[in-house]
Amino acid sequence: MSLIATLSRLEAVRTGRAQAVATVRHRHLSERPLVLVPLTTAGEAGAPLGALVGTDRDAPRLLVVPQPRDRDLRFAFLAELADIVLPYVDAYAEVVEAAERSETDPESGKRVKVEVDLCADAPQLIVPSRTGIDFVRLLGRAMRFRRTAEQDPEAPHPAPPRVPLLGRWLTHFGERARVPGSSLLLALTDLLARHWATGQSSVEDQHLGALLAWIDPPGGESGDAAARRAELARDADGQLLCPPAGPATDPAFDNKLLAPAIERYDRARAALAASEDGLEADDRLGDLTAAEQEIRALVESRTRPTWDAVWRGLDLLRELPEGAHVADRWTRDRWSFTSHRDRISAGEPPQPRRDDAVTAANKLATREREQARLDAQEALDDPLVMAGRRLAGEAFAGEVTEVVMAYSEGRRPSPRPLVTVRTEDRPHLGERTKVYRSLGGKPQAAEFVGYDGPEGGDLLVLRIVDKMGRGKEPEEGSVPQKGDPVCFTLFEHDQRGGAKLPDPEETPWTHGGPPGEPDAVPLPEQPDPPTEEDTL
């Protein structure tokens, strides 16, 4: 953690309020995000217990699995979830704009521009916490290989129609969430922690209630006291006043409230099944409905506070102005969304259980590139982030004290002005280290020439090397003037694309050869065989 972030936490302790660690919002927030607050059943490896889901903060849809071990009830839950999520996703898939993309022409092997559709906007899924993202991935993994009765009439326990498709979309959201700076699927705790430092540790920041208590404590209370209450306070019944944001539930809730309710539900269902005539069945159906209602009420009571907290957190984030490069990164999310839409409509199989060697390497390269891009863009967008880079010796800001015109050697001399910058920063500069400043949104490069004065002193001499036009004299405004404030970074502002990897069919022998070789995974992948006691 940088000293600036450390100081922010300590200031939060001192003031009892969270402190800003960002002065702009570094992630895109949709006008109409879909919020999902899921709960699972302890010990049942991801078995859903219920969820609140929707785009309307005042009218969430409550989904409940009254007996999580019952496959049919789980399928009903997943089908309902698909009925909410898929129309939301489809609405974005349908609205497109024309865009250009460079592709390799199969005939000539040259890079050419082609016109393609780009979705004008993309869906955005918000879950309360990081474990919520894991759960989205788990749901995706569980659903995408399922077969519906239509796909496979022989399939035992066929899945409801749109469930496999939902699985593919949730998988895509889950994978995209691993890309630094992406915003298709966000965890609110991460989002808040990116913008505020609390007076507690990052471990404790995983608790949404406690985190919000620091950022926006109720009344005049201190963040510390409010957070502690959110974490620990229980009612007379031993239940947490602020239930965990899930998907795991509090054991006291399971043992004291949920288990008896599920037991009543099971009994009511058994009784209904055993009823001997219509009248009796009617009565018992009433009992069953009541038992189900009780579980629904319990699930709602545990999810609603989190649901409200998520929207409150979003309100707080919306108060921050959006960072200048956020839209650029959201466009990348839109590309990602569009290409997955295209893969689905092209009838491609679901994402495999494991990436092949080439896909894995491509994903890693993309993520490293996006991480570097994010780090650079956040610093350029936000003086507080840049302050951290300056402190780390990766950037410096100061004032121009002298400009001396100089020219490159050769037949056509170009301008190579020497600019002296006075700075209190201590950048890690070596001979000819490249540095960059933002000039009209584009990076201008310079080379470190040396110190004017003692080594490691405060006068740095730089030689500007580009973005000055084609002529012998630099274009107007392309060279800083004496007295100008400037900020240079040692990191690049843009990311170059990496080398193209071989196609998967050309995986080399060092990496096991192409998929389809004896030890490779058969494609398309087979569904998980159903067993008697599945959990998801």
């Binding site: 494991r354 390497a361 490293e368 991480q371 890690h428 080594e455 080398a499 080399p508 022998w509 060092t510």
Partner: protein, 450 residues
């Protein structure tokens, strides 16, 4: 060198036998790959150059893949030194100053940004990153991959289509490659893109012959046993020289200061620990930094001379034969300015990452855990300590705050475990304890007020 009395091969013969076997497998073997583990200073570069020359002279052109431009240039220079007639191609990027200017003086070295311009040359060398952009060429029959343990699996994936068979050479004990984003998702997969190239290669090709170079020509007899047992527990090596073969002597006697005492200790024993009082400090602990600088200053001032098998006469211990190693860049920067304040500007000061593959007579190391309130995975990484403790031909002086042993003992060990990932040995925690135990025997306690 005295002839060993034991029936065990002498170091020269043992090394020669290993090299012969490697070259036999490389030139005449049936396997697509040959892997060679080379501990510090075991003649890795010599092997690469020799294998390249033998392949070339057998009429088998080859490509060489190294990891950094400095490594590539170094190999080009070494090849030219051995055979000035050999046609060598240096494939380089289109950045400014893409290669060492010294290459311009070599008439048989052709430089280009395009592989096509270098077609037909006996040896073509570049970095893995540059090779990855080469497309649509006829694959080479042979390749040599240098520093293969520092190459990431995904980098090998990008270039492996360029050759039919390859000799992979590297040091498994140095710093592992890393990714700047999480890669847990692929942990346990044989082709985890963030793993080392050799890990992936061997996971898919278990039958490949694996060799190791058994003798370190760099490390003195005082250092090889510790470095071998602490960092290469399952692939031991020994020193090519014996106790007494190397000597470090100083014309100016000790002034009794901490710096001089630790210099004398290290000159005699090969190791020296200058221990400062226990204290929690920032990374750039000014006292420790000053102590490092002071030791370097005194090494230069005392008229050191190094006697070794390399020359008849003792060789003066000059600034270019000394290096300072640190864990962090800001520490290196602080040491540089402390040295500048003492009038020393020509001693290399760098982080472990950048010292990999380099060699000096004496190294002065700021211990990665010195003054820290806590140990982290970064500071415990075995490779970092291994690099720092294995750059020297004569002596290594470590500057450190007291209390590191307790710090290690109090270090929480709650590491996550990924299924299917081979546990890497040695463990940083154990290796650190082993090194500290040896250093403790060569301890000079020092208070900055001395």
């Amino acid at each position: 060198m005295t002839a060993p009395a034991s029936p065990v091969l002498n170091p020269g013969a043992a090394a020669a036998r290993a090299t012969d076997a490697i070259l036999r497998d490389t030139l005449h073997g049936t396997h697509r790959g040959v892997v060679v583990d080379s501990p510090p200073g075991a003649g890795k570069s010599t092997l690469v150059v020799r294998a390249a020359l033998e392949l070339a002279s057998a009429g088998r052109p080859l490509m060489i893949i190294a990891q950094t431009n400095a490594q590539v240039d170094d190999l080009v220079l070494r090849l030219a030194e051995k055979d000035a007639e050999l046609p060598v191609g240096r494939l380089h990027s289109s950045d400014t100053d893409p290669y060492d200017k010294a290459l311009d003086d070599l008439p048989n070295v052709r430089k280009s940004t395009k592989a096509a311009d270098l077609a037909g040359l006996d040896v073509v060398i570049s970095t893995a990153a540059k090779w990855a952009h080469v497309k649509g060429v006829e694959p080479w029959r042979h390749a040599i991959v240098d520093e293969a343990y520092q190459m990431r699996s995904d980098a090998l994936l990008a270039v492996a289509g360029l050759f039919e068979r390859a000799l992979f050479v590297g040091d498994p004990g140095q710093l592992d490659p890393f990714a700047i984003v999480g890669s847990e998702q692929w942990a346990g997969l044989s082709y985890d893109p963030s793993a080392s190239a050799v890990t992936t290669l061997l996971a898919h090709n278990r039958e490949l012959p694996q060799h190791r170079l058994p003798v370190s020509w760099r490390l003195p007899a005082s250092a090889a046993p510790l470095v071998s047992s602490a960092f290469y527990p399952y692939t031991p090596f020994r020193s090519g020289t014996d106790h007494g073969d190397r000597r470090l002597a100083f014309a100016v006697p000790s002034d009794g200061s901490g710096a001089d005492r630790v210099i004398d200790e290290a000159a005699g024993a090969g190791w020296g620990l200058l221990e400062l009082p226990a204290r929690h400090t920032p990374r750039t602990d000014p006292e420790a930094v000053r102590a490092v600088a002071q030791v370097v200053r005194r090494l230069l001032d005392r008229g050191g001379a190094a006697t070794s098998e390399r020359s008849e006469e003792p060789v003066p211990l000059t600034a270019d034969r000394i290096a300072v190693g640190t864990a962090h860049r800001d520490q290196a920067a602080s040491v540089r300015s402390a040295l500048a304040a003492l009038g020393v500007t020509d001693v290399v000061v760098d982080t472990a990452n950048r010292l990999q593959g380099r060699e000096y007579d004496v190294t002065v190391v700021l211990h990665p855990l010195s003054g820290r309130p806590d140990a982290t995975a970064f500071h415990l990484e075995t490779g970092r300590l291994c690099v720092l403790a294995s750059r020297h031909r004569h002596a290594c002086i470590v500057v450190c705050r007291a209390g590191v042993s307790e710090l290690l003992d109090d270090h929480p060990s709650t590491e996550p475990v990924q299924l299917g990932v081979t546990v890497k040995f040695p463990d940083g925690w154990e290796a650190n304890h082993a090194v500290l135990a040896t250093l403790a025997e060569h301890r000079v306690a020092w208070r900055p007020s001395d």
